[in-house]
């Protein structure tokens, strides 16, 4: 049965509205810029509605619209300057193992206690795009490996290997932020003790 335009709009809106927060934050992580993120969401929504008669009702709307969002991002927003800004993988993955030293708590506990939301977002946004996309879709948005593969048009094996490396990179960055913070605290404490004595 053919739907009228108004009926189509209503169905579209009902499916879309619950996904807006996830679409917006994913756009933010991709563009790393609020203004671009808002434009990206608007553009993706416009494209999605234009293609909505090809969407099969009852199938995965969330994965469908995320695919439109990520494609729109790669085609229109992933500018050369972003590619140049991303640090090289070798740079990020250098295997300098560092031994965080903490007192009283395990390094893992210290990491979990010192990390803030800003650290986590900064770390995610520092990942090169191919890893960032997989990390955001699976680990933040909860898409399965298979759904992520379909959204990004890559084989599931690639999703798994990028996720593996993405996780390693993210952990490495978080350890660095946390170690830096703990070192700074130690410095401050030293300064304080010196002053009061």
């Amino acid at each position: 049965m053919m739907k009228t335009k108004e009926e189509q709009k209503k169905v579209f809106q009902e499916l879309l509205v619950p996904e807006l927060p996830a679409l917006f934050r994913t756009a933010l992580r991709m563009t790393r810029n609020r203004e671009d993120a808002e434009d990206l969401v608007q553009e993706a929504v416009t494209k999605a509605f234009a293609a909505f008669d090809r969407f099969e009702e009852g199938t995965n709307f969330r994965a469908w619209i995320f695919k439109i969002l990520t494609n729109t991002f790669i085609n229109n927003y992933y500018r050369l300057r972003d590619r140049q800004k991303a640090p090289s993988l070798e740079e990020m993955e250098d295997e300098t193992s560092f031994q965080p030293s903490f007192e009283g708590v395990t390094p893992e506990e210290a990491l979990l206690n010192t990390l803030t939301r800003e650290d986590i977002l900064r770390a995610i946004e520092s990942l090169p795009l191919e890893f960032r996309a997989v990390v955001v879709l699976t680990l933040v948005e909860g898409f399965s490996y298979k759904e992520t593969a379909e959204i990004l048009d890559i084989p599931i094996g690639t999703v798994m290997s990028r996720l593996h490396r993405g996780r390693k990179l993210l952990q490495k960055l978080l350890w660095e932020y946390s170690t830096r913070k703990t070192d700074m605290e130690k410095e401050n404490e030293k300064g304080w003790t010196a002053k009061t004595l």
Partner: protein
């Protein structure tokens, strides 16, 4: 299942990716018995929960919602 097998399967388990009933049971049994893997699992679980929780915590600006509504109205 030994510690090496566990590490290999840990992320599948954490991500809720399909594992056979048998594999899942083997992981849970190993975690119950092996302190080292259990600690690793707890750490990874807390860390990735933190990443998910913080990553989902952005507010959609009212202005964007209004913009989207305006766009839909014009379709």
């Amino acid at each position: 299942m030994d510690c090496k097998d566990l590490v290999e399967k840990l992320y599948f388990y954490l991500d809720g990716e399909v594992l056979s009933e048998e594999e899942r049971r083997a992981i849970e049994e190993h975690l119950a018995l092996c302190r080292k893997c259990c600690e690793r699992y707890e750490f990874e679980r807390l860390l990735w929960d933190m990443v998910r929780h913080n990553g989902q915590n952005d507010h959609v600006p009212e202005a964007l919602i209004a913009r989207i509504e305006g766009v839909i109205a014009q379709f």
